[in-house]
């Protein structure tokens, strides 16, 4: 058999040409498809629903109760500025100013499943804004202290005496609040420094996006 050294023309079967064309078109499609910013976080409709519901509010009574019972799941976060936090704040609270709520350091406190986070400020305003930011990002277990520190003063530190005509429940609340006030050191006329309760050690476990294990 004689060998000719011309490069024989390879006839490519039509099926293969079609397949090659399909592959190239698919890959080209990936390049040409319009790219849009992917939304990280919850959808706008659910966000709106969450804003309108009042589930996120906790009252000062509930918080005081939890603090007295030393609830280990509670994490109080003060969203006011640092100066305000240093002047006065609730015991064992952490300060994350509103401007820093979205920063990566605060994510460890906010984006996790171990604690119930209660945000508070002087009134509701800053705390609500902080809550909106967290909710938009999809963080769970975030609550707002209704009325903030102002409400705290009005109910716990300085509870209003109920009138004679008020219900039994009002009286129970009042007694509870007075007891709470004692716990928090109100009316401590002596000059002894208030007992410094040991600072709670907050174990932070940031909820990372789960990356699959693999290897080898």
């Amino acid at each position: 058999m004689s060998n000719t050294y011309k490069i024989k023309k390879v006839v490519v079967k039509t099926e293969y040409k079609v397949l090659a064309a399909i592959l190239i078109i698919l890959a080209g499609g990936l390049v040409l498809l319009p790219k849009y910013e992917k939304n990280s976080g919850i959808k706008p409709e659910s966000f709106l629903l969450n804003i309108m519901s009042t589930e996120r509010y906790v009252t000062t009574d509930q918080i005081a109760n939890k603090m007295i019972n030393q609830d280990p799941n509670l994490l109080l976060i003060d969203v006011r500025k640092k100066e305000d936090f240093d002047k006065f704040s609730l015991p064992n609270a952490v300060n994350i100013p509103l401007a820093k709520v979205l920063s990566s350091d605060s994510e460890a406190y906010l984006n996790q499943d171990t604690y119930d986070v209660v945000l508070y400020s002087n009134d509701n305003c800053y705390a609500d804004q902080a809550w909106q930011l967290c909710n938009r990002m999809g963080y769970k277990h975030i609550y707002v202290l209704k009325g903030g520190l102002n409400e705290w003063f009005n109910t716990i530190i300085n509870p209003q005496e109920p009138k004679i005509t008020d219900s039994d429940l009002a009286f129970k609340d009042y007694n509870f609040r007075k007891a709470a006030a004692m716990y928090f050191g109100v009316g401590n006329k002596t000059n002894t420094a208030p007992k410094v309760k040991p600072k709670r050690v907050i174990k932070l476990a940031k909820k990372k996006k789960k990356v699959a294990e693999g290897g080898c």
């Binding site: 293969y16 397949l19 990356v211 699959a212 294990e213 693999g214 290897g215 080898c216």
Partner: protein
């Protein structure tokens, strides 16, 4: 020269079709488990288990085995080992369905089967050594790494084929 026509045994799938199915399997694996299939990890787990059972103190002292020994759980209990089991079963099924089950040494007519076995053993030693360096083999680092565009996978594939072509001429007597 008589050219004997092979029977059904050598009718394999069209390689493009095989590649398509393989690609879909890999895609499926990533979609469900978040990782790609692999193979060399199963071999490594076997060795670690055997060494651990035979000489536990030596295994603990050795920094490499120690990485894979988990307290209270056998090192064999990994995803790759189960997948390797599946590989055996799948290969057997396909061979059985196509009539390719036969116990023999496949070698080029230019060398003896003994030489083939020795060369295969040597090739395996190199491969095992290299797979540990590269943290994967052609399936684990190559296919799965390339599917997610990993740089390590890309480098490994290029090196494998580069190394192969570099030495192919010198061992050609084994094949053609």
């Amino acid at each position: 020269m008589k050219i004997h026509i092979e029977e059904n045994k050598h009718v394999y799938w069209n390689p493009y079709f095989g590649g398509l199915i393989l690609g879909l399997v890999i895609l499926f694996t990533f979609y469900i488990t978040g990782r790609g299939p692999g193979a060399s990890g199963a071999f490594k787990s076997t060795i670690v288990t055997v060494v651990n059972d035979v000489a536990p103190t030596h295994a603990e002292n050795n920094a490499y085995y120690d990485r894979f020994i988990k307290k209270g759980d056998s090192p064999m209990n990994t995803w790759l080992v189960y997948e390797a089991l599946g590989l055996l079963i799948g290969g057997f099924l396909s061979g059985a369905l196509s009539g390719r089950l036969k116990l023999f040494v496949e070698h080029s007519p230019k060398i003896t089967s003994k030489k083939r076995i020795i060369v295969a053993l040597l090739g395996g030693v190199f491969f095992g050594l290299g797979a540990q360096f590269a943290r994967g083999c052609t399936s684990g680092a190559g296919l799965s790494g390339l599917a997610v565009l990993s740089l390590g996978g890309f480098i490994t594939v290029l090196s494998i084929f580069g190394g192969g072509y570099a030495i192919a001429y010198f061992v050609r007597k084994n094949w053609i």
